[in-house]
């Protein structure tokens, strides 16, 4: 069984994100980039399934600029077998990514597609679901446990009320939640071995997908700084301010 894992290059979760001085975008100069944490969990799950003998090959795919190959190679160092880089300029939105992944799914015919539930930069939580619709596959989102059982897949999902168990027919799509697993660390020797693993580069035209953006980013601004507090004279003044200035009570 072949597993396809999608990974996204994002600003490392440890980095304090800043807006550019001109407010046009997020500052990326000298900023450490990494695999989106939820995608890392997706890679780990696929590698574990391979180690358990359930999956025979783990293919990792990333849609993005050339630098995304770094994240593919990180996934290869974590245990994936080969990589596919779909090279696009700029920052594609979820629907474009889903369409491109659909192209890869058509070509690779995986039985299982694992994605992070959302990326920590866009926070859209859309790509997996859109891919499910485009590829006409069942989807188990926010997975905290998955188990392959013959032709089907059991997915335990984290939902508001607790845990929900689904049974999906393969091929299927899974998006990972935080508690699915704890990703391993790549080892230094495996980083070097990953350099020898195949990494295929393709593009939207080769996949027969037209990339068209529907969203324009107007600006990026940091949250307003909290203003200094003031001392009120008495309770009456406090109530007055809460009522008329802050308007939090009526």
């Amino acid at each position: 069984m072949k597993a396809l894992v999608a990974v996204k290059r994002v600003v490392d979760y440890n980095v304090k994100v800043r807006a550019k001085a001109d407010g046009s975008d997020v500052e990326l100069n000298n900023v450490k980039m990494a695999i989106n944490p939820f995608c890392e969990i997706a890679v780990e799950e696929a590698v574990r399934l391979k180690e358990a003998g359930t999956v025979s090959e783990v293919v990792v795919v990333s849609v993005g600029e050339k630098s995304s190959q770094e994240q593919i190679r990180t996934a290869l160092a974590l245990g994936a077998d080969r990589g596919i880089h779909v090279e696009v300029e700029g920052r594609p939105e979820p629907l474009e990514i889903a369409k491109l992944l659909k192209g890869v799914v058509d070509k690779e015919q995986p039985q299982l597609v694992i994605l992070g539930k959302q990326s920590i930069d866009g926070d859209n939580n859309q790509t997996g679901q859109m891919l499910g619709a485009l590829a006409n596959m069942g989807q188990g989102t926010f997975a905290s446990e998955i188990k392959v059982d013959g032709d089907s897949l059991q997915v335990i999902r984290e939902v508001d009320g607790g845990l929900q168990t689904l049974k999906l027919t393969l091929p299927a799509i899974v998006t990972t939640d935080l508690r699915l697993n704890e990703p391993r660390y790549a080892s230094l020797p495996n980083i070097m071995k990953a350099k020898k693993k195949p990494l295929e580069v393709t593009n939207p035209a080769e996949l027969g997908v037209e990339v068209k953006s529907h969203v324009t980013q107007l600006g990026v601004a940091p949250p307003p700084e909290r203003a200094a507090g003031i001392k009120v004279e008495d309770v009456a003044q406090l109530v007055d301010k809460l009522k008329n200035e802050a308007k939090v009570i009526s």
Partner: protein
């Protein structure tokens, strides 16, 4: 968000701008490498440091290793971190692929391991010593011995030590008494007591391989009669499995000011029939072999001193930016908002001193790592021998300046935090305590200074000394006409002049005057030389920064390079002028300390 252990921007400055490690990919050993794999190594080391070492830093300090009369007891977290380092391949990133390494250039290895040192300098000491022990065996042991021991040391299955000091012979190895008795089967039995053996006993690995110095019966006295032996804690069975306990007993643990992640032990060899040991190389050559390891260990000690200085600087810098306290002298309104600590000029003075010491020392240590690399992998013979000559000459300075000025930087870090820095709520006092070992072990500052003045300067017709001076002079030439570097150019030229004239006086006096008097102030000579060398490193950094600023830079980069230039200025204006005072004392053969008598104290 917590303070970073180290500044990644700064590490990248050394790697890609100052030491140009990407160019190393043209050497066969490093052909698989590029910036991406270097950064990946840094990423992994940083993660392991943050996930496994930072969280236990304080616990380790509060729970030093204990001896229950039978074995060493340590908190279990140390073993978890020990294993994580081994699994990530961080015991020996610089070693060959076949040995489980990554063939990472040493400069990059130093930066990667810097993260672990910054997080918990001493807990990783087990692995650092093991790597050094394996390097020693790989160079001097027989093929069979290498096959038996080295691969298992490289994976961390076995740990390694070096056992030199004895109760009556610490720095003075000539007085060593431990005895080795030859057996009919070609092995030896060792009898004697060793102390201060770091990692001498613990339960982290299935075996411990001691590299022991001892005298074969009938050997000549002094350092010429010392041989080196492999003496394991457990003997190996025919099939290589770990077998019976050897006659090496833990006699006790030392309880230290810092460094509490690492055991420091007293070991008794041969309480019974003698500890089984295997001679390494030729008899009576042990000290020479050990010094092979010692030179690496000395660079490692300097690097540790510099790294802890960097870590303390980052921590106190972050604190000074976040902590509001007091108002400026110019502020007349007592109700005005307090300013951040960093707004106070005196706090910036202490931060700048730390930056100047830490980054000056760190760049010197990375330069030494680059020389080690060139000595081993430079494509041409001249490059290799030149690198070795300069490295050999600089070793006492690389060991000493960072380990003397590193704790000074940590002292400022504590001061920046004030009372908070004096408590264990913050790690700066721990860094100071950990760092305080560095001027002591692997040859004290005093011993290093005797080595520099008595041996390294005069040896081979001043070859190493001249090589060092001409390297400095070529940087001075390159700095001519660079406006941003002008104050440093003048300050360093002056300091270099003081160094040269002092050296001439001292070398001349060695032939005519009481040698004990000439050597009496050697520690100051080393400090003077150290300042010149670190000033040189700052000028090199300043030249890169000045050049970078001529192009259009991102505002973050402009700030970074301005910071480098300002630190260089600090070193030029506040530090280098002191060389004049020291040079005067030295050139006058000042005898104030020399003529002081014991009875007068």
């Amino acid at each position: 968000m917590p303070a970073p252990l180290l500044s990644r921007r700064d590490l990248e400055f050394y790697l890609y701008e100052m030491f140009d490690v990407e160019a190393l990919a043209t050497r066969q050993r490093y052909e698989d490498h590029n910036r991406e794999s270097f950064n990946a190594a840094l990423d992994i080391a940083e993660k392991i440091a943050e996930d496994y070492f930072v969280p236990i830093r304080k616990t380790v300090d509060l729970n030093q290793p204990d001896w229950d009369g039978e074995k060493v007891v340590m908190i279990p977290e140390i073993k978890i971190a020990y294993d994580a380092v081994a699994e990530a391949g961080l015991i020996c990133p610089d070693q060959s692929y076949e040995m489980g390494g990554m063939q990472l250039p040493l400069v990059v290895t130093s930066c990667a391991m810097g993260y672990i040192t910054a997080a918990a300098s001493t807990t990783n000491g087990f692995h650092a010593l093991t790597a050094a022990n394996a390097n020693l065996l790989e160079t001097h042991a027989s093929e069979e011995q290498i096959e038996t021991w080295v691969p298992r040391l490289r994976t961390g299955e076995f740990a390694g030590t070096m056992a030199l000091s004895e109760p009556q012979a610490g720095s003075s190895l000539a007085d060593m008494r431990t005895k080795a008795v030859a057996q009919d089967d070609g092995t030896y039995r060792i009898f004697g007591n060793k102390i201060w053996i770091s990692g001498g006993d613990h339960e982290l690995s299935s075996n411990i391989v001691h590299a022991v110095l001892a005298r074969i019966e009938g050997a000549p006295p002094g350092v010429k009669g010392i041989s080196m032996f492999i003496c394991p804690k457990f003997l190996l069975n025919e099939d290589g499995s770990v077998g019976a306990r050897n006659d090496v007993q833990l006699a006790g643990l030392f309880h230290k000011m810092g460094g509490r992640g690492q055991t420091s032990t007293a070991l008794n060899f041969g309480e019974g029939e003698g500890a089984v040991a295997y001679l390494v190389g030729e008899p009576h050559q042990g000290l020479r072999y050990m010094f092979h390891m010692m030179n690496e260990a000395r660079v490692m000690v300097g690097t540790s001193g510099a790294t802890l200085a960097m870590a303390g600087y980052q921590y106190s810098l972050d604190y000074a930016k976040e902590r509001p306290q007091g108002r400026k002298a110019s502020s007349k309104d007592p109700l005005a908002d307090p300013v951040m600590l960093i707004e106070h000029a005196d706090v910036r003075r202490m931060l700048l001193a730390q930056k100047a010491y830490a980054e000056g020392a760190w760049s010197l240590c990375l330069f030494a790592s680059q020389l080690v690399d060139d000595w081993k992998t430079h494509p041409d013979e001249v490059g290799r021998t030149g690198a070795f000559e300069l490295l050999d000459f600089l070793t006492p300075i690389v060991k000493t300046w960072p380990s003397e000025y590193g704790p000074k930087a940590n002292d400022f870090a504590i001061q920046v935090l004030g009372g908070a820095g004096y408590t264990n709520e913050h790690p700066v006092e721990l860094m100071y305590r950990d760092n305080r070992l560095n001027p002591i072990h692997e040859g004290t500052t005093g011993i290093q200074s005797l080595d520099l003045l008595g041996r390294k300067v005069p040896q081979n017709g001043l070859a190493g000394y001249q090589a060092c001076l001409s390297a400095i002079e070529s940087t001075l030439e390159a700095a001519e006409g660079v406006a941003d570097c002008a104050p440093m150019l003048i300050a360093l030229q002056n300091a270099l002049g003081h160094l040269k004239s002092t050296t001439e006086v001292l070398l001349g006096s060695m032939l005519e005057r009481d040698i004990d008097l000439v050597m009496a102030n050697s520690a100051k000579y080393l400090e003077l030389f150290g300042h010149v060398v670190v000033g040189w490193m700052w000028l090199r950094q300043g030249l890169i920064a000045a050049q970078a600023l001529t192009a259009e830079c991102h505002s973050d980069d402009t700030a970074f390079y301005r910071g480098k230039l300002q630190s260089m200025l600090y070193f030029a204006r506040w530090e280098l002028p002191q060389t004049k005072v020291w040079a005067d004392l030295l050139s006058d053969l000042d005898d104030t300390t020399y003529t002081m008598e014991a009875a007068w104290f």
